[in-house]
């Protein structure tokens, strides 16, 4: 049987993490092709509903990437994202919904290596978790 290749949706902020991903690419760093990046203006613009929608639609993991605390292009978007993700993860934990599938990470435009490492780590962790069970439920 083929090895399970997780689908990971990445909401990457335009100013830091997306640029970090760009740097990883232009620096020819190797990392798994499991990430599906979506460029967003700020990690603070990612409503929990978008993350849930990805999971319910069959994503095996969701990564939100933002600027390091203190470095947000919009001053405080990442701090708000941090609270929002904390709440989402707590709700998922309370309902037994494998909150490990959702992550928020701070990766700056100069951290191509950190981006590649983050994707490698998350891909391997989600592989261990296995496919997202709700990914096959059509009745939700």
């Amino acid at each position: 049987m083929d090895e399970f290749e997780p689908k990971i949706v990445g909401f990457l902020c335009n100013w830091c993490t997306y640029a970090g991903a760009d740097l990883a690419g232009t620096s020819r760093m190797q990392y798994p092709a499991n990430i599906r990046p979506i460029r967003v203006m700020c990690s603070g613009s990612v409503d929990s509903a978008y993350i849930l929608r990805a999971l319910l639609g069959g994503a095996d993991g969701v990564l939100v990437g933002g600027c390091h605390p203190g470095d947000c292009h919009y001053v405080s978007g990442n701090y708000k994202a941090r609270r929002r993700i904390t709440i989402l993860k707590e709700i998922m934990k309370t309902l037994g919904l494998e909150d490990e599938r959702v992550r928020i990470r701070w990766i700056s435009a100069s951290e191509g290596k950190r981006y590649a490492d983050t994707i490698s780590q998350m891909t391997s962790d989600v592989k261990k978790l296995g496919p997202n069970p709700v990914g096959t439920f059509w009745w939700v």
Binding site: A49, G58, T86, L95, G96, V134, G135
Partner: protein, 375 residues
């Protein structure tokens, strides 16, 4: 100035005595109007009414154990555009007051010129159960008070009320107290703020005194309810844990969104889940279908409930009106109350406790939750 007085009850009818107090507030011009629950002529239900004529308070019923809508929503409707120009009294229960405090923080209501008159709440029945009790020629208040007196588990109590920690209203200017008193003889009228103290003084009532039993009984009452709450949480956690159980919990949902309409915290004029974000072109439906080969219609049922939970759980006061509004009788209270309790604990936030405390989603601290971005 007396902070509390004991009001003598006539004809073993505490409700009537409270009504004459309210009438007094209007007569003396201390208030221009009062928002107060009133029994409908058919007796089948109780609705909130705004009263300016003291005579019209005769059928008011501040103790009627039923909650068709949260008065927090009514006050929001009345004061969202501008604060009340005249002093108004609001007769409300603890859960309604707590929801109102949240709405004020969300800038959906103004407390200016308003006097909150909180009434002790022993619990409420669903609108349907209340009407049933009336149709059997019984008096719901009598059923409730008698049950409470005998200390029996009331089979009609709404699930929210069975596990409610707040029998005594918080953030009130005046409190009408029943717990710990022999309410066939006397009720407590207590000031909860400077404003309330002034009103109490202006009422110029002689009989002052205290109830030695009250504090003990109130804390006993909350302890019992909290124990039941925690038992409910552990049962619920087992019942709904995991995607499979969660999806079967919501299996009978018909997407009517009554839960959102009835929720006092869900104030958005246009819910995100009704917005154009969720309007798709035909091609998008097919694209989504192709992922699993099949797509439930209407779509996104579980997404709506989980998304709504993410938006309002920090402010959930556990009133259970979502559950009362559900035409499919989905026991929503237990899941929303449990989730709310968990997320509120992270921020040590108690919705409705204090106007000064900011809603966790509206603020942040720089040096918090560092582990969330690292792990």
């Amino acid at each position: 100035m007396a902070k509390q007085i004991l009001v003598k009850v006539k004809n073993k009818n505490p409700g009537q005595s409270v009504n004459s107090l309210l009438a007094d507030l209007l007569h003396k011009g201390l208030l221009e109007g009062i928002l107060v629950p009133q029994i409908l002529p058919s007796k089948e239900s109780v609705v909130q009414t705004l009263v300016t004529e003291p005579e019209k308070l005769k059928e008011a019923d501040v103790l009627a154990p039923v909650l068709p809508v949260s008065s927090a929503q009514i006050v929001s409707d009345m004061t969202r555009v501008a604060a009340s120009p005249k002093p108004l009294g609001l007769v409300m229960r603890a859960c309604e007051i707590r929801a109102l405090v949240e709405l004020v923080k969300l800038k959906q209501a103004s407390l200016e010129n308003l006097l909150i008159i909180g009434v002790d709440c022993l619990g409420t029945y669903s609108v349907r159960d209340y009407a049933d009790i009336v149709s059997r020629k019984e008096d719901p208040i009598h059923v409730l008070l008698q049950g409470a007196k005998e200390g029996k588990e009331d089979p009609y109590l709404r699930s929210a009320c069975r596990v409610c920690e707040y029998s005594v209203p918080t953030s009130s200017d005046l409190i009408v107290g029943l717990i710990g008193l022999d309410w066939e003889k006397e009720v407590l009228l207590k000031a909860g703020s400077d404003k309330g103290e002034k009103i109490l003084a202006a009422l110029n009532m002689s009989s002052s005194g205290t109830s030695s039993q009250r504090e003990k009984m109130v804390s006993q009452f909350s302890q019992q309810r909290m124990k039941k709450r925690d038992e409910l949480f552990s049962r619920t956690q087992k019942e709904i844990s995991g995607w499979e159980n969660l999806s079967s919990f919501f299996a009978t949902c018909i997407n009517c969104r009554n839960c959102m309409t009835a929720c006092p915290i869900c104030y958005c004029k246009e819910c995100f889940f009704n917005s154009s974000t969720f309007e798709f072109e035909p091609a998008k439906y097919l694209e989504r279908t192709n992922r699993k080969g099949i797509l439930k219609m209407p779509t996104d049922t579980l997404l709506f409930h989980l998304g709504r939970m993410n938006h309002m759980a920090v402010s959930c006061v556990g009133c259970g009106l979502c559950e009362q509004a559900c035409p499919s009788n989905i026991p929503l209270l237990k899941i929303f109350k449990m989730v709310g309790h968990q997320v509120q604990e992270i921020f040590e936030y108690v919705p409705g406790r204090n106007l000064e405390e900011e809603i966790p989603l509206a603020v942040f601290k720089e040096d918090e939750l560092q582990e969330v971005g690292e792990e």
